[in-house]
Symmetry: C2
Subunit: 124 residues, 2 copies
């Protein structure tokens, strides 16, 4: 997995951002902890401490997983006081759904073929 440095301009300052070269949603959701984090966020926007609670890992580890989710755009971050609240952005999952669609079709065809086969069997 490669990393690329990109720069992002804001009105007030320049902020450096690190992004996944491939916006690889597939890789992002490959890790069970990250899937679990997304699941937790279905309950709504939540601060890191709250997200980290169910896990036995250190909090920095969670931060790092959140970073990966952030990089592929599956979550966003909003600062509120000394907290950072993470929010789910499931739009990126569309990519996966689209990839899966191919296999839906394949699956349908196989079912159809099976149906035909059974029809023939019955006719004999």
């Amino acid at each position: 997995m490669g990393w690329t440095a990109t720069t992002q301009a804001t009105t007030t300052a320049m902020t450096k951002t690190v992004q996944l070269a491939t916006e690889d949603v597939f890789t992002a959701i490959a890790h069970p902890v990250r899937r679990r984090l997304l699941d937790l966020l279905v309950g709504g926007e939540q601060p890191v401490n709250r997200l980290a609670m169910p896990f036995k890992m250190s909090r920095p580890a969670i931060s790092q997983h959140l970073r990966i989710l952030l990089d592929v755009g599956l979550v966003s971050e909003r600062r509120s006081g000394r907290e950072r609240r993470y929010r789910l952005h499931p739009e990126g999952l569309r990519q996966i759904r689209e990839w899966l669609a191919t296999y839906d079709r394949f699956w349908q065809e196989r079912l159809a073929a099976l149906g035909d086969h059974l029809d023939k069997e019955n006719r004999q």
Copy 2:
């Protein structure tokens, strides 16, 4: 990603087998080469050499990827002469679809909420 050693009994002897602890379909499809392999198999059962052709990697590398797909059950292998024909078994992808379903719901709710919000705005 953890690995567990399991033992498998046969009538004639004991064979040691290494298996993915989690039959992790998510991990299996995380690699672009493996997704591509599955895509190629939509065209029907195919021998390894044919599957390996589009790639610049060595053939053993492809064999190793196929092994991972085999382990999680996304493909099956059938011997035919000196060839081994691989066949797609997309059933395992259901697991992913099911996980995604949660977010479909979330997404719907967000759209609904947005609709409500816009309604209120309009009423003002």
